[in-house]
Amino acid sequence: MKKGLSRRNLFKYMGVGGATAVVAGCEKSSEKLIPMLIPPTDYEYTPHTAYKYMTTCRECDSACGMMVTTREHRAQKAEGNPNHPVNQGALCARGQASLQTLYNPNRHAHPLADGKQIPWEEGMQQFSAIIKAASGAIAYLGKPASGSEGDFVDEWLQAAGGGQRFKFNLLTQKSQIEANKIAFDHANVPEYAFEKAGVVFNFSTDFLENWGNPVENARRFTDMHVYKNGRKNKFIHISPQVSLTGAKADRWIVINPGTEGLVALAIASVIQKENGTYKFLKKYLQAYSPEKVAEATGVSAETLSELAIDAMEHGPLLALGGGNVSATDQSVETLVGVNILNAVSGALNKTVLFSDQTTPESSTHQDLTQLISDLNAGKIKLLIVDDSNPVYALPPSMGFLQALKKTFVVSLASQKSETTHTANLVLPALTAYESWGDAFPRNGVRSIQQPVMSTVNMFDARAREDILLSVAQNVNKKAFSENSSYLDYLQNIWQKIQRKVGDKRKFDSFWISVLENGGIFEKPKFVRASLNRRVASVKLNDPGMASSDGLTLFPTTSLLLGDGSGANKPWLQEVPDPMSQIVWDSWMEINPDTAQKLGINDRAIVEISTPYGSVQATAYYHFGIHRNAIAIPMGQGHQHSGDVADGFGINVMELLPDQMDKAGSLVFVGAKAKLKLINEKSYTVNTDGNARQLGRDISAATTVEELNNPEKHSSGHNRPVEFYPDRSETAGYYKPYRWGMTIDLDRCNGCSACVVACYAENNLPVVGKVRTAIGREMSWIRMERYIEGYGDDFETRFSPMLCQHCGNAGCETVCPVYATYHNPEGLNAMVYNRCVGTRYCSNNCAYKVRRFNWFNYEFPAPLDQQLNTTITTREVGVMEKCTFCVQRIKDAKYDAKNLGRDLEDGEVVTACQQTCPTKAITFGNLMDPESKVAKNALRDNPAKRDRQYEVLAELNYKPAVTYLKKVNTREVDGHDSDNHGSHEQEQAHS
């Protein structure tokens, strides 16, 4: 034999050696079965079963009722509480993302002293020591409390030797409350009975996004606005800027920035002249007649009179005022003007309903300015902060960050934020979903907040109130002597409530019924309000913002990020903002005409400077903004809020002055900006391919006139004639269920709650900005946004797009391994384990709703505890898409089978359907003629027939999702859509 290794032998040994190594490593690693130690005995516990607990959502101030589904003692999905009168079972996008507040990897995990981890005992000792030393000079800077925690902290401050509680929230309704006090002697926010109104004038509020209670507003507004009985009520948006709320309007009246009050008074003057009521206002209103304010507002006198006549003929009116866009230094006067309009038109006590309730608390800007100067003067020795984030939210020109350095800061927050970053002592607090509390958002509503699971095991945190309680007992022996815990304190309060509502049971039974119901809900008691004569002395001036020295800057609230608290939640960053379709970024809305004049292209990077700061952001061409203004959404530009928030976008608050209005609120619209082009190209990611439908009729609309025209009836579902027999003719198919869905585009307002709900229910991964840029986002339902028309007369249309579960699917026929097929109940089934990843199905899908797992996406702990255990979590290499929540269908079917019957209508609710505040989505069995979905989708319902259509029906895919056309009150011409020059939305450059 030759010396050494021959080539042939080398290959032999390599092959066998390699095979052995592989095979030897191939042992099946076993899973473990972990038993309980002691199963729960106070109820019959079964594993893998959903237990639902009622609590309250605390993502914003609305305090909607929430029902959290837990399995194996882990919260997995949040829904609205169906019993709660405010949200009635629906939940907005931020509420759906509340589980990412609970499971956020960027929560404080351990007590920290100056950044170093310390044990709890030491932390508590330090806290007690500093309280003793700071006695009398304590400031508690927390969120406004709508429940018992406010009183608790006040008592605590007293026990701790004295101090002051500040209730900070960037977005408040303080100006509105002040205006209501002046006009109606009611220092609180009324209920807005949208459903009773015939016309709604919206003076720049974002009532479907962040103003008031958006879930309730959406529901009530939709009840008023949908096409019913052959007609539609009107919604007119009077504002310099069109946000998601304005997109729903029948007409947009462009007004000069800051002139909402003048317009309201002009309309009121016409109405007052016409019906002669409120004689004391006659002279006052003459100064604000349409002719006199036409120049200042930029609205012609004819239009103003038209609006007034509309309000009178189609009333009752509901005029809404408030929000950021009208928050100039005259915001109180503006809102008094809107109040006058409501009174003069007769809306007061009809659609604007006051009740006797405590004023919602919030600290004024004045209070905060005083706090800052006290801090600077060394008068405050201890500042306690919670989850509100004033370091981020307040304009830096106020100097809050510098003032903080002069005192000892203790953070009792759950999430990492810019404010807790400055804290000397960090004591991690629990989130609202793991602790006790309550909320009294308005008259008649007492909502309970209970822990839906024991604390998330990764974080060594305690309930904020319990921390305060035990520290108080360290400092002052007599403090809270009857209360062993905050729960105890809370139950004492609820005992008083029990007596007040006249419930005669033992407290334990009452308490259980409160927890099961989510609270105590009574019908609100309204009181008559009347206009006070002092309004006639409120002067409103022309703010002069339309002049050309700079563009008025509107810092708008963000639908998904709110005032910034949503930025550390991956879902809220990944889901596109419905109006701009931009993800993981900020942008600046600018009118195309203005941009062209300044030489700024769409998606160019621009530097925006005001006298108070400057930032760089991407320009977004938006028809819906005044030509002398720009709008930048809040919420991004974080630096210390976690890896999902930091480094994305910019913080618009850096551009604002330290200015307040007569109610003591921060003036949001107080700066004029200058723009400078920095770069023609930007790396801003948007998920829409084209903002125009180009005649494809994806989001179709019709008009009231067309629907009422007897000659213009639709001939049928817009499908070609069928050649092959339909599957419903075979014995095995569609018995007894054929699942179908309808989406009513007249109800949908684009809020994207359905999108976030789907992420939560189906274990969808978040892929991040880089991968979204190449189209790899994993949303199974997406909110498509199309623009019709140009200039001031543009229309925005929304269309939720999900797997259509086609009867004649393009994806099913091309799968080489039969991983996707048409299931006998009408679903397009996706079998993950058969999929080999050819991606041919996605190629063939005309709706582009199929999502491929390009990687094994991570769910960094503890986000993996949120994963729904009733569904498979997909790995790399398989295709996935909307399943019509098949796991819910199966669970319901098993339950019905165990009861010995078939499913009834309404028992299966998909995640998107359940959370929709306007109930735009219906789902159910098309084979059941009595079901809601059949009534919407089938041809034999004359009320819906002319509005039914399928997307891209001409391809003959036979979708199971039927859309109902949006009903407009007038035509918007968007059909000559090709090459309209500078108005075209260009593709994002990378």
Partner: protein
């Protein structure tokens, strides 16, 4: 010279390892040597006394440690078998508040959703009338007929249909080589009333153009509707288990 034999020897060795690794012999050991034979045969405890979630839940769960303590007693008060090494291991877990990490022997992949409860509570009438006849329990105890007969019997006998004769096991093993492969599950699923007809009736790719009738009688023929008038889960639909 030795070099010559390296190739065949490695080949044999690798096949040996392959066989070993996929067989039950090399399977991990349980943390406690719990004998089902001892507890069920000698002490007469029913399956569902300990495995109480089997008929109540989608997932079968595993008995809580408190069930063991119920008879054996904790460290402080040892009742049954105070001196046994294995039982004391369990008592140690209990006193440390640690759950016992049992090795899962009967495992199905995560992409299969198997409802334990539905199987324990299933109606035997759904099976074909002659399913289970001809079971030769001595020579072929794990034949399809014997499994069906055991399933038909119901109660704790039904557990043995899939898990094998657990009563005779000192250590739990998987009796069927192809346990939890789809073929193993489908063997029984195809023995329900109407399955054969439904295969030709349109639920599978093969024959959807065959049957054209729609009425309820026909539905019953293909096993969709049961005698009580409501619908059975469609066992020939992929989506019943893979979602």
């Amino acid at each position: 010279m030795v070099l010559r034999y390296i190739f065949p020897i490695s080949l044999i060795l690798s096949v040996f390892f392959l066989a070993l690794s996929s067989s039950a012999v090399l399977a991990e050991e349980q943390p406690i040597a719990f004998s089902h034979k001892l507890h069920t045969v000698q002490n007469g405890i029913a399956c569902q006394y300990c495995h109480l979630y089997a008929r109540r839940s989608f997932s079968s769960g595993v008995p809580p440690v408190s069930t063991c303590i119920g008879c054996h007693g904790p460290q402080e008060q040892k009742l049954v078998q105070p001196e046994s090494v294995e039982v004391n291991k369990m008592r140690t877990f209990w006193s440390n508040n640690e759950p016992i990490p049992w090795v899962k022997i009967h495992d199905i992949p995560d992409f299969v959703r198997f409802p334990h409860k539905e199987h324990i509570n299933a109606d035997s009438n759904r099976l074909l009338d002659d399913a289970g006849a001809g079971c030769d329990s001595e020579n072929a105890p794990r034949s399809l007929e014997c499994k069906l007969a055991q399933f038909r019997t119901g109660g704790d006998e039904r557990c043995l249909a899939c898990h094998g004769d657990v009563r005779q096991m000192e250590v739990i093993v998987q009796v069927d080589e192809n346990f939890a492969t789809m073929g193993w599950c489908m063997e029984c699923h195809l023995q329900v009333k109407g399955a054969k007809e439904r295969k030709r009736s349109g639920n599978t790719m093969a024959g959807w153009y065959h049957a054209k009738e729609l009425n309820k009688k026909r539905e019953a023929d293909i096993g969709l509707v049961n005698e009580k008038g409501y619908h059975n889960p469609n066992l020939l639909d992929c989506y019943t288990c893979h979602y």
